[in-house]
């Protein structure tokens, strides 16, 4: 009787292990397929159309009809909006993280946390729409930008969108510090502000780096919300309020009309592959930052 039961539980355990392995294997398979497919399609620009890689990365002349797919404009556009977003949203997010972990009274944390969770759940099309209906007219009336669309509108929308990521992760970074360092600092007579700025922030620096890197990753990948407000103009951002385009917005704008097998389609795939490479690099940075902490 016991032996039968033991054998049976042994069998269910083995089935469970096989099930888990299949699930894990499937994830790896899906990732590998995605990577290989994007690499295959994304390099056609270079080996089918013979467009040089350096020109793809650094030339700003994008006109597929005349054989030019220099994507410098989109790469710089992506970097510019991301930089804008992280410069505005990064410090702000970390500040809120400090506030939540160290200063906010319990009641306030209870109120803020769900609010931040809601921010994560709002679909990006809603952010984009708010940007289009509130931010763009605001920029148009208060600056010399004739349309209001452009880098600043996209950067501000992105800064708001990355806030939840940065806030949550930096709060976690502070909460995971051992309480003894804070107590030690306070015991030595440091004020709360001195403790936060001189002890807690440096100690949590690798966790804060992770918060910022994942915020950057979120910003680089965002598509719809910024496509609605960036202006989608194939030109370098000549000033903070000028229209430009990013890698993601260029893909989504021209994808519907890109005929299979054309240079335009290949170039869009190359941009998608480039985004994947950037995402992978960012994850490597996250790993490095975490390793430093351990």
């Amino acid at each position: 009787m016991i032996a039968v039961q033991a054998r049976r539980s042994h069998r269910t355990e083995r089935i469970a292990v096989i099930g888990l392995r299949v699930a894990a294997g499937f994830v790896i398979l899906a990732m590998a397929t995605l990577l290989l497919y994007l690499a295959y399609e994304g390099t056609k620009t270079f080996y089918v159309d013979k467009f040089p890689l350096w020109k793809f990365l650094f030339s700003t002349s994008f006109d597929p009809d005349s054989g030019q797919v220099g994507s410098g404009v989109f790469i710089i556009g992506t970097l510019a909006v991301t930089l804008f977003a992280i410069l505005v949203g990064g410090p702000f997010g970390i500040a809120v993280g400090i506030f939540l972990a160290e200063i906010a009274p319990y009641r306030m944390t209870q109120l803020l946390k769900p609010a931040i969770e809601v921010m994560v759940g709002i679909p990006s099309v809603v952010y984009g729409w708010l940007g289009l209906t509130l931010l763009v007219p605001l920029i148009r009336t208060h600056t010399n930008s004739p349309s209001g669309f452009g880098l600043a509108a996209a950067g501000i929308v992105l800064a708001i969108m990355i806030l939840p990521t940065v806030i949550t992760l930096s709060e976690d970074a502070f909460r995971s510090l051992p309480p003894t360092i804070k107590e030690g600092s306070l015991a030595l007579g440091a004020t709360r502000f001195q403790t936060i700025m001189r002890v807690l922030v440096p100690s949590a620096s690798s966790g804060l780096a992770v918060a910022l890197i994942l915020g950057i990753a979120r910003a680089i990948g965002e598509t719809l919300a910024i496509q609605m407000v960036i202006g989608n103009a194939t030109r370098l951002p000549m000033g903070i309020f000028a229209p430009t385009a990013a890698l993601t917005t260029e893909i989504v704008t021209d994808m519907p009309g890109a005929t299979e097998g054309t240079l335009l389609e290949h170039a869009l795939f190359s941009m998608a592959f480039l985004l994947l490479v950037i995402a992978m690099l960012l994850i490597v940075f996250v790993r490095l930052a975490l390793r430093k902490r351990n």
Binding site: D63, P64, R140, P146, G148, D254, P256, T259, L264
Partner: protein, 272 residues
Amino acid sequence: MKRNAALAALLVGCSAAALTAPAFANTSITIAGSTALLPLVKDASEAYQKAHPDVQISVSGGGSGTGINQVAAKAIDIGDSDIQAPAHPELHDNRVAVIGFAVVTNPDVKLKGLTKAQLQGIFSGKTTNWKQVGGADEKIVVINRPRNSGTRAVFTKTIMGSAVIDESSQVEDATGTVVSVVKTTPGAISYAAFSGTRGSGLNELEIDGVAPTDDNIRSGKYPDWSYEHMFTQGEPTGEVAKFIDFVAGSKDLVERDGFILISSMKVKETDR
């Protein structure tokens, strides 16, 4: 799509085996492509399905390029497009209506019309202020459609001539977006299908003194128009052929959605 058909067949099979089968549609037609033609195809498909409950029609957008690509790849039955498909000679071109495009500006631009040469100057980026074409001293904000957009292709062919569209202008990717952006942006100019511009409150420009009206398109005076194409793999048969005929023949729907009946055209052109 084929997969949908297979799924439907599977569902029919299963339910037939399990219970008495409910009435499933036994023909399905899948359509995708041009967003300009979308309103007409949608309305026609609803009317057609009401009259033929055994036919199931699914309609989606994606743009003219998507329509041509997908039907060429045999993923869908009908690919809608504002432009011809010279790259795919195997596709059968079914023309269902005529679509007109208007050049529109923000209402604050008080000009009644422009010449083709003036439009070429504006859209190629050489003319940048409304006062250069007789308007007020105000910056021109050009709004374009994406590369390979059908609306843009027709505009390029019928208005731009040998002039090249300035790639550094702002781009919005759907008729509806273009209309709302032009409406809210002072000094903005763009081009869009009649179905989107009519009743939108935008300033519709005359081109070389000819107003963008159905009659001016019928007589061949107004240049910016095209045929709407529903491409099929080879000559259409069965319900697909019947549906295409239905779209082209629905006078009420065609006119209500802002299109022009092909049979009412006085000018005949083959290469649009």
